[in-house]
Symmetry: C2
Subunit: 350 residues, 2 copies
DNA sequence: GTGAAAGCGCTAACAG
DNA sequence: CTGTTAGCGCTTTCAC
């Protein structure tokens, strides 16, 4: 491992610059009250530059107790591969953590496998903070971490209500936005509105969107029909399958829990020879980048993945610096973006 | 930072177990010839368990010189947010590095920003190896790293031919697969075949696919027409824009450089009132998970992102262990998956 | 079989 | 203002 040979240490820089390691450390770290004469400063800087010196990260971590890295936990990571929303969050997280001077360590958790794998990272002092996407209801470690004041920010709504007042998170009001999306369909005159979730029943986010759908129905005085609800599982494929079942129940519209699943739903409808939105109207959720280019362009609830990531990092940064963040919950706006799949435009023409 | 308080060190485990730190280290690391009596072993293990001991990663790194983490460099990271292929690679990489016992450190590089940001990671001994996705032609650091025998595996074809015989990579034969995709259209009787690339002209992968397209045309005795080629930029939106221009040139088919861009291309065609594949046939590239659920289902070149990731990690692992890997290039298969957008099924019926 | 001691590269009191 | 020194927590010879 040639990585090993040419270790350039601060000692070498010191020797080359004709000073001690302390001075090198002071100069390179811009220690406030060191008061190093400009001439020495320059000498050190030049020596470091010429040698291509980069401080050994491990040594720095060991002594400082800081790792300057953020752990990113993605549960149900298999969804990363099929869904278009999570990658956007990931991008945003990466961008902003980098800008804040932190590295991002990716920890993916698959289905049943040890949900506490990330605990190793924090126990081993390998990360300074944690961002969690897709909280799992069965994860007992996370609440514990929060209780111990380890810096954690959750993306999405953490429904362990027991400790909800202690955890920091960036989320959307999913119930309300799902209600609005459903109401949009209701306002268009639909009575038989189906719902395809984006993930299994035991996911929090699924429950919230489902609840919003239910409330909208209630408020419109329409009874909830269990057989108009089917469960997806992040992929377009799951939406396709779910919709095939639903087709027999003859809905006139369907509210889909996310856009990727909606792609499958639309395919099922179209392959059954029905038109969107004339025969069946669709509203999705997320507003993934391809949503405007589907046929027809998808009406959907916009959730800004980029905003989620940015806000999460900003919050986590404060937490890692030991600040007390009073505003523990940040909610992002979720406007309904009207395109063609809901039929609102046709409706308007009439 | 409560992370700090309850540091449990090997010393504490040693004390609790009534042995020395050396013994603890031996037991916990399963040192071969330590010959520790079972009774002591158990005592140590129990003490460690009870205390919830996890070795300090930094200290371990410092002394061992190993970080057990892999750096993942994604250039043009903004594409992560819009394209469906890279996330799949990412998922696979994460999965397999985890299985191999490595952490994944994500380093995204945006457009013009310092392309050598990842060099800090290797110079600072923060990673043991590197996986690079989306190699940039203007990246001079990478060849240097390879020359110095730092473990690097590239996903995609690295066209710095100068050092091509020294670098390890997992790729596909893009020229050949693009040729085959185009030929498929040619075999269906198309004469005016357009091409929309998935990224700007100066990207290697773009050039390869473009070249495959050109060769297929040549072999069919059809002249290359520059105005039948337009450039996309990863997103569906860019495909939409590109195709709008191309529409005026009246192609009867188009080969698109990737599926996400193809979504935009299809939208442009359909919004212009033309049918796919009857009026214009489409072949994509990548076979993203939603490809079968587009309308119409997309005929495309299948590139297994999962395979790429898995092979890359396997290769890198050997490299990091100091093994000499003779098979420096691994090529993955890229079959053309026939669905509806190319019109082959219609054709067959005639 | 187990412990003492050295040292990985760095930072930060504390002297000088 | 700069150098000496003492660890951070761990692994690993080398003695006992």
């Amino acid at each position: 491992m040639s990585n090993r040979n040419k270790r350039i240490t601060s000692q070498q820089v010191a020797t080359k610059a004709g000073v001690s390691r302390t001075t090198v450390s002071f100069v390179l770290n811009n220690v406030p009250n060191a008061n190093i004469p400009e001439s020495t400063r320059v000498k050190v800087l030049e020596a470091a530059e010429e040698l291509g010196y980069v401080p050994n990260a491990a040594a720095k971590m060991l002594v400082s107790g800081e790792t300057r890295t953020i752990g990113l936990v993605i549960s149900h990571a298999e969804h990363l591969a099929v869904d278009a929303f999570i990658p956007q969050v990931l991008y945003s997280l990466s961008k902003h953590s980098q800008e804040a001077g932190y590295n991002l360590l990716l920890e993916t958790v698959r289905d049943v496998s040890a949900p506490d794998a990330y605990m190793q990272l924090v126990r081993g002092h390998q990360i300074d903070g944690l961002v969690v996407v897709n909280t799992r209801s069965d994860d007992s470690q996370l609440p514990e971490l929060v209780r111990k004041n380890f810096p954690v920010v959750i993306i999405g709504f953490p429904n362990w209500t027991a400790i909800a007042d202690n955890v920091h998170y960036v989320a959307t009001n999913a119930i309300e936005s799902a209600r609005l999306a459903t109401k949009h369909l209701l306002d268009l005159g639909h009575q038989r509105i189906a719902h395809v979730t984006f993930s299994p029943e035991n996911y929090f986010a699924t429950q919230d969107r489902h609840q919003g759908y239910t409330i909208a129905l209630e408020q419109a005085g329409i009874g909830y029909k269990k057989n108009l609800v089917a469960y997806g599982n992040y992929s377009a494929e799951s939406g396709f399958v779910a919709m095939q079942t639903l087709l027999a129940r003859k809905p006139s519209a369907v509210f889909v829990g996310n856009d990727t699943v909606a792609i499958g739903v639309m395919a099922a409808i179209q392959q059954a020879g029905k038109r969107i939105p004339e025969d069946i109207a669709i509203v999705g959720y997320d507003d993934i980048p391809t949503a405007p280019y589907l046929s027809p362009p998808l009406t959907t609830v916009r959730v800004s993945a980029l905003e989620h990531g940015q806000k999460a990092i900003a919050m986590l940064e404060k937490l890692m610096q030991g600040e007390t963040v009073l505003e523990k919950a940040i909610y992002c706006q979720t406007p309904v973006i009207i395109r063609d799949s809901c039929g609102a435009k046709l409706h308007a023409k009439k």
